[in-house]
Symmetry: C2
Subunit: 225 residues, 2 copies
Amino acid sequence: MQPIFDCSLFRGITPEEIKEMFALTNTSIKTCHKNAIIKFQGDEYADLLIILNGVISAEIQSPDGKRIIIETLRTSSVLASAVLFASDNTLPVTITADTDVKIISLSRKTIIQFCRGNEKFLLNYLQDTGNKVIFLAEKIRLFKFKSINQKIAGYLLNLSGKQGTDSVKITYSREQLADLFGIARPSLSRSFSELYNLGILGRDGKIIHILDRIRLKEIILNEDT
Amino acid sequence: MQPIFDCSLFRGITPEEIKEMFALTNTSIKTCHKNAIIKFQGDEYADLLIILNGVISAEIQSPDGKRIIIETLRTSSVLASAVLFASDNTLPVTITADTDVKIISLSRKTIIQFCRGNEKFLLNYLQDTGNKVIFLAEKIRLFKFKSINQKIAGYLLNLSGKQGTDSVKITYSREQLADLFGIARPSLSRSFSELYNLGILGRDGKIIHILDRIRLKEIILNEDT
Protein backbone atom coordinates (compact mmCIF):
# COMPACT_ATOMS: atom_id res chain seq x y z
CA MET A 1 0.00 0.00 0.00
CA GLN A 2 3.00 2.37 0.35
CA PRO A 3 2.66 3.84 -3.17
CA ILE A 4 -0.96 4.68 -2.33
CA PHE A 5 0.02 6.28 0.99
CA ASP A 6 2.49 8.45 -0.97
CA CYS A 7 -0.03 9.40 -3.67
CA SER A 8 -1.02 13.10 -3.65
CA LEU A 9 -4.74 12.23 -3.63
CA PHE A 10 -4.32 10.62 -0.20
CA ARG A 11 -2.18 13.40 1.33
CA GLY A 12 -3.09 14.02 4.96
CA ILE A 13 -5.06 10.78 5.29
CA THR A 14 -3.68 8.22 7.73
CA PRO A 15 -2.69 4.73 6.50
CA GLU A 16 -5.44 3.30 8.72
CA GLU A 17 -8.09 5.48 7.09
CA ILE A 18 -6.77 4.62 3.63
CA LYS A 19 -6.94 0.90 4.40
CA GLU A 20 -10.54 1.34 5.53
CA MET A 21 -11.39 3.24 2.34
CA PHE A 22 -9.95 0.42 0.21
CA ALA A 23 -11.53 -2.34 2.28
CA LEU A 24 -14.96 -1.14 1.14
CA THR A 25 -14.20 -1.06 -2.56
CA ASN A 26 -13.25 -3.24 -5.53
CA THR A 27 -10.04 -2.34 -7.28
CA SER A 28 -8.10 -4.05 -10.01
CA ILE A 29 -4.34 -4.21 -10.37
CA LYS A 30 -2.70 -4.66 -13.75
CA THR A 31 0.88 -5.35 -14.76
CA CYS A 32 2.30 -4.07 -18.03
CA HIS A 33 5.64 -4.98 -19.55
CA LYS A 34 8.23 -2.42 -20.59
CA ASN A 35 7.33 -0.65 -23.86
CA ALA A 36 3.70 -1.82 -23.75
CA ILE A 37 1.07 0.74 -24.64
CA ILE A 38 -1.23 1.08 -21.63
CA LYS A 39 -3.79 3.41 -23.24
CA PHE A 40 -4.05 4.97 -26.67
CA GLN A 41 -4.72 8.64 -27.35
CA GLY A 42 -8.48 8.80 -27.95
CA ASP A 43 -9.30 5.85 -25.66
CA GLU A 44 -12.08 6.36 -23.17
CA TYR A 45 -10.75 7.03 -19.68
CA ALA A 46 -13.33 5.52 -17.33
CA ASP A 47 -11.12 4.38 -14.42
CA LEU A 48 -8.52 6.42 -12.59
CA LEU A 49 -5.04 4.92 -12.89
CA ILE A 50 -2.40 5.25 -10.13
CA ILE A 51 1.11 3.89 -10.66
CA LEU A 52 2.03 1.38 -7.95
CA ASN A 53 5.46 0.68 -9.39
CA GLY A 54 7.46 1.76 -12.42
CA VAL A 55 7.66 4.65 -14.87
CA ILE A 56 5.27 5.61 -17.66
CA SER A 57 5.26 8.28 -20.36
CA ALA A 58 2.35 10.34 -21.61
CA GLU A 59 3.02 11.25 -25.22
CA ILE A 60 1.40 12.65 -28.33
CA GLN A 61 2.20 12.11 -31.97
CA SER A 62 3.20 15.10 -34.04
CA PRO A 63 1.59 15.36 -37.52
CA ASP A 64 4.75 13.80 -39.02
CA GLY A 65 4.46 10.77 -36.74
CA LYS A 66 7.17 11.76 -34.25
CA ARG A 67 6.68 10.86 -30.56
CA ILE A 68 6.57 13.90 -28.28
CA ILE A 69 6.77 13.04 -24.58
CA ILE A 70 4.52 15.36 -22.59
CA GLU A 71 5.06 13.97 -19.14
CA THR A 72 6.95 11.18 -17.38
CA LEU A 73 5.17 9.76 -14.34
CA ARG A 74 6.61 7.62 -11.58
CA THR A 75 5.42 5.43 -8.67
CA SER A 76 2.49 7.01 -6.75
CA SER A 77 1.54 9.37 -9.60
CA VAL A 78 -2.08 9.79 -10.66
CA LEU A 79 -3.03 9.85 -14.34
CA ALA A 80 -5.44 12.37 -15.82
CA SER A 81 -7.62 13.00 -12.76
CA ALA A 82 -9.44 15.80 -14.59
CA VAL A 83 -10.21 13.84 -17.76
CA LEU A 84 -11.99 11.15 -15.73
CA PHE A 85 -15.08 13.32 -15.18
CA ALA A 86 -15.02 15.49 -18.33
CA SER A 87 -17.96 15.27 -20.74
CA ASP A 88 -15.45 14.11 -23.34
CA ASN A 89 -13.43 11.66 -21.26
CA THR A 90 -11.12 10.47 -24.03
CA LEU A 91 -7.39 10.60 -23.29
CA PRO A 92 -5.52 13.38 -25.08
CA VAL A 93 -2.26 11.38 -24.80
CA THR A 94 -0.96 7.85 -25.35
CA ILE A 95 0.31 6.14 -22.18
CA THR A 96 3.37 3.89 -22.57
CA ALA A 97 5.24 1.78 -20.01
CA ASP A 98 8.90 2.91 -19.80
CA THR A 99 9.67 0.05 -17.39
CA ASP A 100 7.67 -2.93 -16.19
CA VAL A 101 4.75 -1.25 -14.49
CA LYS A 102 2.12 -2.09 -11.87
CA ILE A 103 -1.03 0.02 -11.99
CA ILE A 104 -4.19 0.16 -9.90
CA SER A 105 -7.55 1.13 -11.45
CA LEU A 106 -10.22 2.92 -9.42
CA SER A 107 -13.65 3.28 -10.99
CA ARG A 108 -15.43 6.61 -11.16
CA LYS A 109 -17.90 5.20 -8.64
CA THR A 110 -15.05 4.51 -6.21
CA ILE A 111 -13.64 8.02 -6.64
CA ILE A 112 -17.08 9.53 -5.98
CA GLN A 113 -17.42 7.34 -2.88
CA PHE A 114 -13.97 8.44 -1.64
CA CYS A 115 -14.81 12.12 -2.31
CA ARG A 116 -18.07 11.95 -0.40
CA GLY A 117 -16.67 9.87 2.45
CA ASN A 118 -13.42 11.71 3.05
CA GLU A 119 -13.10 15.50 2.97
CA LYS A 120 -9.30 15.42 2.61
CA PHE A 121 -9.55 13.17 -0.43
CA LEU A 122 -12.13 15.52 -1.96
CA LEU A 123 -9.92 18.56 -1.37
CA ASN A 124 -6.88 16.74 -2.77
CA TYR A 125 -8.83 15.71 -5.86
CA LEU A 126 -10.13 19.22 -6.49
CA GLN A 127 -6.64 20.61 -5.91
CA ASP A 128 -5.10 18.14 -8.35
CA THR A 129 -7.51 19.08 -11.16
CA GLY A 130 -7.31 22.79 -10.27
CA ASN A 131 -3.51 22.69 -10.46
CA LYS A 132 -3.77 21.15 -13.91
CA VAL A 133 -5.92 24.08 -15.10
CA ILE A 134 -3.45 26.60 -13.64
CA PHE A 135 -0.56 24.78 -15.32
CA LEU A 136 -2.24 24.74 -18.74
CA ALA A 137 -3.38 28.38 -18.47
CA GLU A 138 0.20 29.41 -17.65
CA LYS A 139 1.50 27.32 -20.55
CA ILE A 140 -0.86 29.19 -22.89
CA ARG A 141 0.20 32.55 -21.43
CA LEU A 142 3.86 31.70 -22.07
CA PHE A 143 3.22 30.87 -25.76
CA LYS A 144 3.44 34.57 -26.54
CA PHE A 145 7.14 34.54 -25.64
CA LYS A 146 9.31 33.33 -28.49
CA SER A 147 12.74 32.47 -27.06
CA ILE A 148 13.37 30.18 -24.11
CA ASN A 149 15.03 33.03 -22.21
CA GLN A 150 11.92 35.12 -22.73
CA LYS A 151 9.73 32.30 -21.41
CA ILE A 152 11.94 31.96 -18.33
CA ALA A 153 11.88 35.72 -17.77
CA GLY A 154 8.11 35.94 -18.27
CA TYR A 155 7.52 33.02 -15.93
CA LEU A 156 9.85 34.20 -13.14
CA LEU A 157 8.70 37.84 -13.20
CA ASN A 158 5.08 36.75 -12.93
CA LEU A 159 5.86 34.35 -10.08
CA SER A 160 7.98 36.98 -8.33
CA GLY A 161 5.02 39.37 -8.47
CA LYS A 162 2.71 36.73 -7.00
CA GLN A 163 5.11 35.66 -4.26
CA GLY A 164 6.15 39.27 -3.54
CA THR A 165 9.88 38.48 -3.49
CA ASP A 166 12.95 38.32 -5.73
CA SER A 167 13.73 34.86 -4.34
CA VAL A 168 11.15 32.82 -6.16
CA LYS A 169 10.12 29.35 -5.08
CA ILE A 170 9.63 26.95 -8.00
CA THR A 171 7.15 24.19 -7.23
CA TYR A 172 7.52 22.42 -10.59
CA SER A 173 10.16 19.80 -11.38
CA ARG A 174 12.64 20.42 -14.23
CA GLU A 175 10.53 18.11 -16.33
CA GLN A 176 7.33 19.99 -15.62
CA LEU A 177 9.07 23.30 -16.35
CA ALA A 178 10.23 21.95 -19.73
CA ASP A 179 6.63 20.89 -20.44
CA LEU A 180 5.34 24.30 -19.30
CA PHE A 181 7.70 26.06 -21.73
CA GLY A 182 7.04 23.50 -24.47
CA ILE A 183 10.74 22.71 -24.88
CA ALA A 184 13.15 19.81 -24.30
CA ARG A 185 14.90 19.48 -20.93
CA PRO A 186 18.47 19.98 -22.20
CA SER A 187 17.43 23.29 -23.82
CA LEU A 188 15.93 24.40 -20.52
CA SER A 189 19.12 23.59 -18.61
CA ARG A 190 21.25 25.40 -21.20
CA SER A 191 19.15 28.56 -20.93
CA PHE A 192 19.18 28.54 -17.14
CA SER A 193 22.98 28.04 -17.13
CA GLU A 194 23.33 31.01 -19.46
CA LEU A 195 21.25 33.21 -17.17
CA TYR A 196 23.25 32.08 -14.10
CA ASN A 197 26.54 32.79 -15.89
CA LEU A 198 25.33 36.25 -16.94
CA GLY A 199 24.62 37.02 -13.28
CA ILE A 200 20.94 37.67 -14.04
CA LEU A 201 19.70 34.71 -11.98
CA GLY A 202 21.10 32.76 -9.05
CA ARG A 203 20.03 29.39 -7.71
CA ASP A 204 19.62 27.80 -4.33
CA GLY A 205 17.89 24.40 -4.61
CA LYS A 206 14.22 25.07 -5.38
CA ILE A 207 14.73 28.85 -5.02
CA ILE A 208 15.69 31.00 -8.01
CA HIS A 209 17.07 34.44 -7.10
CA ILE A 210 16.40 37.29 -9.48
CA LEU A 211 19.75 39.09 -9.18
CA ASP A 212 19.24 41.59 -11.98
CA ARG A 213 15.59 42.44 -12.52
CA ILE A 214 16.29 45.16 -15.07
CA ARG A 215 18.19 42.86 -17.41
CA LEU A 216 15.58 40.12 -16.90
CA LYS A 217 12.89 42.54 -18.05
CA GLU A 218 15.04 43.61 -20.99
CA ILE A 219 15.15 40.01 -22.20
CA ILE A 220 11.38 40.08 -22.67
CA LEU A 221 11.48 43.32 -24.61
CA ASN A 222 14.59 42.89 -26.71
CA GLU A 223 15.35 39.31 -27.50
CA ASP A 224 14.12 38.17 -30.85
CA THR A 225 15.62 34.73 -31.29
CA MET B 1 -33.30 31.43 -7.37
CA GLN B 2 -33.94 30.82 -11.11
CA PRO B 3 -30.34 31.69 -12.19
CA ILE B 4 -29.11 29.12 -9.67
CA PHE B 5 -31.54 26.47 -10.94
CA ASP B 6 -30.15 27.12 -14.45
CA CYS B 7 -26.50 26.96 -13.34
CA SER B 8 -24.56 23.96 -14.72
CA LEU B 9 -23.32 23.03 -11.22
CA PHE B 10 -26.92 22.34 -10.15
CA ARG B 11 -27.94 20.38 -13.28
CA GLY B 12 -30.20 17.46 -12.42
CA ILE B 13 -30.93 18.72 -8.91
CA THR B 14 -34.55 19.67 -8.19
CA PRO B 15 -35.43 23.23 -7.13
CA GLU B 16 -36.60 21.81 -3.79
CA GLU B 17 -33.25 20.13 -3.15
CA ILE B 18 -31.40 23.30 -4.18
CA LYS B 19 -33.48 25.37 -1.79
CA GLU B 20 -32.64 22.94 1.00
CA MET B 21 -28.93 23.12 0.15
CA PHE B 22 -28.99 26.92 0.35
CA ALA B 23 -31.11 26.99 3.51
CA LEU B 24 -28.22 25.41 5.40
CA THR B 25 -25.56 27.82 4.24
CA ASN B 26 -24.50 31.46 4.36
CA THR B 27 -24.13 33.18 1.03
CA SER B 28 -23.46 36.75 0.11
CA ILE B 29 -24.86 38.63 -2.87
CA LYS B 30 -23.04 41.59 -4.35
CA THR B 31 -24.08 44.15 -6.95
CA CYS B 32 -21.53 45.75 -9.29
CA HIS B 33 -22.14 48.64 -11.64
CA LYS B 34 -21.38 48.52 -15.33
CA ASN B 35 -17.64 48.82 -16.09
CA ALA B 36 -16.63 48.08 -12.47
CA ILE B 37 -13.72 45.71 -11.98
CA ILE B 38 -15.00 42.79 -9.94
CA LYS B 39 -11.64 41.02 -9.47
CA PHE B 40 -8.13 41.83 -10.64
CA GLN B 41 -5.79 39.38 -12.35
CA GLY B 42 -3.61 38.05 -9.50
CA ASP B 43 -6.31 38.45 -6.81
CA GLU B 44 -6.89 35.51 -4.55
CA TYR B 45 -9.99 33.55 -5.54
CA ALA B 46 -11.38 32.17 -2.28
CA ASP B 47 -15.13 32.18 -2.98
CA LEU B 48 -16.89 30.75 -6.02
CA LEU B 49 -18.79 33.40 -7.96
CA ILE B 50 -21.99 32.67 -9.89
CA ILE B 51 -23.67 35.38 -11.99
CA LEU B 52 -27.26 35.95 -10.90
CA ASN B 53 -27.87 38.69 -13.42
CA GLY B 54 -25.88 40.52 -16.06
CA VAL B 55 -22.81 40.02 -18.23
CA ILE B 56 -19.15 39.98 -17.25
CA SER B 57 -15.87 39.69 -19.17
CA ALA B 58 -12.76 37.76 -18.20
CA GLU B 59 -9.78 39.51 -19.76
CA ILE B 60 -6.02 39.67 -19.70
CA GLN B 61 -3.67 42.51 -20.52
CA SER B 62 -1.22 42.04 -23.35
CA PRO B 63 2.37 43.21 -22.68
CA ASP B 64 1.58 46.50 -24.48
CA GLY B 65 -1.37 47.14 -22.18
CA LYS B 66 -4.16 46.13 -24.59
CA ARG B 67 -7.26 44.40 -23.18
CA ILE B 68 -7.80 40.91 -24.57
CA ILE B 69 -11.20 39.43 -23.73
CA ILE B 70 -10.86 35.71 -23.01
CA GLU B 71 -14.43 34.91 -22.18
CA THR B 72 -17.81 36.59 -21.82
CA LEU B 73 -20.05 35.09 -19.15
CA ARG B 74 -23.78 35.57 -18.69
CA THR B 75 -26.49 34.91 -16.08
CA SER B 76 -26.11 31.48 -14.39
CA SER B 77 -22.45 31.10 -15.39
CA VAL B 78 -19.86 29.93 -12.87
CA LEU B 79 -16.47 31.64 -12.64
CA ALA B 80 -13.19 29.75 -12.38
CA SER B 81 -14.45 26.63 -10.60
CA ALA B 82 -11.04 24.96 -11.01
CA VAL B 83 -8.97 27.87 -9.69
CA LEU B 84 -10.93 27.86 -6.40
CA PHE B 85 -9.14 24.74 -5.13
CA ALA B 86 -5.75 25.07 -6.87
CA SER B 87 -2.61 25.43 -4.71
CA ASP B 88 -2.11 28.79 -6.40
CA ASN B 89 -5.66 30.11 -6.32
CA THR B 90 -4.94 33.52 -7.84
CA LEU B 91 -7.08 34.54 -10.78
CA PRO B 92 -5.32 34.40 -14.17
CA VAL B 93 -7.78 36.99 -15.56
CA THR B 94 -9.36 40.32 -14.61
CA ILE B 95 -13.15 40.19 -14.21
CA THR B 96 -15.09 43.24 -15.39
CA ALA B 97 -18.81 44.01 -15.31
CA ASP B 98 -20.10 44.61 -18.86
CA THR B 99 -23.54 45.53 -17.51
CA ASP B 100 -24.86 46.09 -14.00
CA VAL B 101 -24.27 42.71 -12.42
CA LYS B 102 -25.58 40.69 -9.48
CA ILE B 103 -23.26 37.98 -8.19
CA ILE B 104 -23.52 35.37 -5.46
CA SER B 105 -20.41 34.19 -3.54
CA LEU B 106 -20.15 30.67 -2.17
CA SER B 107 -17.25 29.92 0.16
CA ARG B 108 -14.96 26.94 -0.40
CA LYS B 109 -16.48 25.46 2.74
CA THR B 110 -19.96 25.69 1.21
CA ILE B 111 -18.79 24.06 -2.04
CA ILE B 112 -17.20 21.20 -0.07
CA GLN B 113 -20.42 20.79 1.90
CA PHE B 114 -22.47 20.72 -1.35
CA CYS B 115 -20.05 18.18 -2.90
CA ARG B 116 -20.24 15.85 0.06
CA GLY B 117 -23.99 16.22 0.56
CA ASN B 118 -25.12 15.92 -3.06
CA GLU B 119 -23.64 13.46 -5.53
CA LYS B 120 -25.03 15.27 -8.58
CA PHE B 121 -23.42 18.52 -7.48
CA LEU B 122 -20.09 16.71 -6.98
CA LEU B 123 -20.28 15.13 -10.45
CA ASN B 124 -21.24 18.47 -12.01
CA TYR B 125 -18.34 20.20 -10.27
CA LEU B 126 -15.82 17.57 -11.35
CA GLN B 127 -17.22 17.69 -14.87
CA ASP B 128 -16.96 21.49 -15.00
CA THR B 129 -13.28 21.47 -13.99
CA GLY B 130 -12.54 18.44 -16.19
CA ASN B 131 -14.08 20.18 -19.21
CA LYS B 132 -11.84 23.16 -18.57
CA VAL B 133 -8.76 20.92 -18.71
CA ILE B 134 -9.95 19.31 -21.97
CA PHE B 135 -10.62 22.76 -23.45
CA LEU B 136 -7.15 24.09 -22.55
CA ALA B 137 -5.39 20.91 -23.72
CA GLU B 138 -7.18 21.18 -27.07
CA LYS B 139 -6.28 24.86 -27.29
CA ILE B 140 -2.62 23.94 -26.82
CA ARG B 141 -2.88 21.17 -29.42
CA LEU B 142 -4.31 23.64 -31.94
CA PHE B 143 -1.42 26.11 -31.45
CA LYS B 144 0.63 24.07 -33.91
CA PHE B 145 -1.73 25.06 -36.73
CA LYS B 146 -0.89 28.46 -38.15
CA SER B 147 -3.88 29.66 -40.19
CA ILE B 148 -7.46 29.79 -38.96
CA ASN B 149 -8.54 27.37 -41.70
CA GLN B 150 -5.91 24.92 -40.50
CA LYS B 151 -7.15 25.23 -36.93
CA ILE B 152 -10.73 24.59 -38.06
CA ALA B 153 -9.61 21.60 -40.14
CA GLY B 154 -7.47 20.19 -37.30
CA TYR B 155 -10.28 20.63 -34.81
CA LEU B 156 -13.05 19.13 -36.98
CA LEU B 157 -11.01 16.15 -38.20
CA ASN B 158 -10.08 15.26 -34.62
CA LEU B 159 -13.69 15.60 -33.46
CA SER B 160 -14.94 13.61 -36.44
CA GLY B 161 -12.55 10.79 -35.49
CA LYS B 162 -13.81 10.83 -31.91
CA GLN B 163 -17.49 10.98 -32.82
CA GLY B 164 -17.04 8.45 -35.65
CA THR B 165 -19.03 10.51 -38.17
CA ASP B 166 -18.65 13.19 -40.84
CA SER B 167 -21.51 15.13 -39.26
CA VAL B 168 -19.77 16.56 -36.25
CA LYS B 169 -21.61 17.95 -33.25
CA ILE B 170 -20.05 21.13 -31.88
CA THR B 171 -20.70 21.60 -28.17
CA TYR B 172 -18.91 24.94 -27.89
CA SER B 173 -20.50 28.32 -28.58
CA ARG B 174 -19.07 30.56 -31.32
CA GLU B 175 -17.41 32.56 -28.57
CA GLN B 176 -15.79 29.50 -27.00
CA LEU B 177 -14.61 28.33 -30.44
CA ALA B 178 -12.97 31.72 -31.05
CA ASP B 179 -11.27 31.41 -27.63
CA LEU B 180 -10.22 27.82 -28.44
CA PHE B 181 -8.58 28.97 -31.68
CA GLY B 182 -7.15 32.09 -30.04
CA ILE B 183 -8.78 34.40 -32.59
CA ALA B 184 -11.48 37.09 -32.76
CA ARG B 185 -15.07 36.07 -33.50
CA PRO B 186 -15.41 37.92 -36.83
CA SER B 187 -12.29 36.12 -38.15
CA LEU B 188 -13.82 32.79 -37.13
CA SER B 189 -17.09 33.55 -38.95
CA ARG B 190 -15.21 34.67 -42.08
CA SER B 191 -13.20 31.44 -42.20
CA PHE B 192 -16.26 29.25 -41.69
CA SER B 193 -18.13 31.16 -44.43
CA GLU B 194 -15.21 30.59 -46.78
CA LEU B 195 -15.23 26.85 -46.08
CA TYR B 196 -19.01 26.68 -46.59
CA ASN B 197 -18.72 28.56 -49.91
CA LEU B 198 -15.95 26.26 -51.09
CA GLY B 199 -18.25 23.28 -50.47
CA ILE B 200 -15.77 21.77 -48.01
CA LEU B 201 -18.09 22.14 -45.01
CA GLY B 202 -21.84 22.39 -44.57
CA ARG B 203 -23.82 23.50 -41.57
CA ASP B 204 -27.00 22.49 -39.85
CA GLY B 205 -27.41 24.32 -36.53
CA LYS B 206 -24.92 22.80 -34.08
CA ILE B 207 -23.88 20.15 -36.65
CA ILE B 208 -21.03 20.78 -39.08
CA HIS B 209 -20.94 18.41 -42.06
CA ILE B 210 -17.58 17.51 -43.51
CA LEU B 211 -18.53 17.45 -47.21
CA ASP B 212 -15.04 17.13 -48.66
CA ARG B 213 -12.68 15.35 -46.29
CA ILE B 214 -9.83 15.22 -48.80
CA ARG B 215 -9.73 18.99 -49.31
CA LEU B 216 -10.11 19.53 -45.55
CA LYS B 217 -7.02 17.40 -44.97
CA GLU B 218 -5.19 19.26 -47.72
CA ILE B 219 -5.73 22.53 -45.86
CA ILE B 220 -3.68 21.20 -42.94
CA LEU B 221 -0.83 20.12 -45.20
CA ASN B 222 -0.70 22.94 -47.71
CA GLU B 223 -1.88 26.20 -46.32
CA ASP B 224 0.89 28.44 -45.11
CA THR B 225 -0.77 31.72 -44.35
